[in-house]
Amino acid sequence: LATTSIKHNTLAVACVVRYKRKYVTQILYAPL
């Protein structure tokens, strides 16, 4: 899991997922 520092009450988390033969960095922004 990758995270960024919380800014404006918003948290961003990410992880790199393999989808079939390609790599997707899924980034989710969520409010605190």
Binding site: H8, N9, T10, A14, Y19, K20, R21, K22, Y23, V24, T25, Q26, I27, L28, Y29, A30, P31
Partner: protein, 315 residues
């Protein structure tokens, strides 16, 4: 000879259709890429800042309560919010606290008829099918949705845009080289009833025009009808950045001053240009539409990526 060119055009179109049938949407995706997703409980103004920060204009939404994909956030949503504010200027607090969940209510309140259900397609369906779905829903982008093998929950694999598909074709389909018929023979694009504005036109009038005619750009012309600029739907993001709605009183010329400096400019072409030349331009630059002008630069019409895709698939 013109006859040979017409024959080549048909051969080229057939070959591109076969190409689109033979590839899947998954093939268009780079080996490594990112997908930025917003939880639907995020504030609209936060989501706007994150889009601008990442230089993107759209993002898929995720409803963590139902653990399902909840459609796409696009510039249409921000246009709805602007329209809602201009109809209810006393509702600033409501708008300031608006979350992405609330956008559907705003859409209903302003009465826009965007398709409530976002179309999507499985990544391994033929690319041709994704194009057909986009054209049918007049969406300019289509989410690729698969399901998790264990939990059967949806996965937002990516979002394909018309631009990415046409760029993929221009880079991988050598038959674009024989699409040499001039535009004036193809009956393609919009050449009549073009809604244009002047630099002094209030930006709200231009936004209303986009809503009424369901268009995503309004050309700006001078008194001699020469094209001088274009106001695009994505420009509204810079208009309300930071949740400020004070700039809605600007003229469209003033509003265009807020565009970021790395805007690549408006692309023009003439009726003598071919789809090969347009395809080459798409391959090299981020073109979202071309404005058709005459030799003096007077506005004649507009050619959108949807027009090009429709022509390739159905002409």
């Amino acid at each position: 000879s013109p006859e040979q060119i017409r024959r080549d055009q048909r051969i080229g179109l057939e070959a591109i259709r076969e190409f689109l049938q033979s590839k899947t949407s998954f093939d268009v995706l780079p080996v490594s890429y990112r997908v930025i997703v917003f939880e639907t409980s995020l504030l609209v103004k936060r989501a706007l800042n994150i889009l601008l920060q990442n230089s993107i204009v759209s993002a898929p939404l995720w409803n963590s309560k139902t653990s399902r994909f909840a459609g796409l956030l696009t510039s249409n949503d921000f246009i709805n919010v602007i329209q809602y504010y201009s109809q209810n200027p006393d509702q600033f607090q409501f708008i300031d606290n608006l979350t992405l969940n609330g956008l559907r209510d705003v859409e209903k309140a302003v009465g826009t008829t965007t398709s409530l259900e976002t179309v999507s397609i499985h990544p391994f369906k033929p690319l041709y099918d994704a194009c057909v779905k986009m054209i049918q829903s007049s969406a300019r982008r289509i989410p690729l949705i698969d399901e998790d093998e264990d939990t059967h929950r949806e996965i937002v694999v990516s979002v394909l845009t018309e631009y990415r598909i046409l760029k993929f074709v221009s880079m991988n389909c050598k038959e674009t080289k024989i699409l040499l018929q001039p535009l004036h023979e193809l009956n393609i694009g919009t050449m009549t009833n073009i809604s244009a504005a002047k630099l002094e036109t209030p930006v709200m009038e231009v936004i209303d025009l986009m809503i009424q005619k369901s268009i995503s750009s309004v050309p700006i012309v001078d008194d001699q009808d020469k094209l001088i600029n274009v106001y695009e739907a994505v420009d509204v993001l810079t208009l309300i950045k930071g949740g400020l709605y004070t700039d809605l009183t600007l003229s469209v010329g003033e509003a265009l001053l807020k565009r970021s400096d790395d805007f690549e400019g408006v692309y023009t072409c003439t009726l003598n240009d071919s789809l090969f030349a347009i395809s080459e331009t798409i391959r090299k630059a981020r073109v979202h539409r071309l404005f058709i002008v005459d030799d003096e630069g007077k506005l004649l019409g507009v050619l959108t990526l949807s027009d090009i895709l429709k022509y390739i698939l159905f002409s």
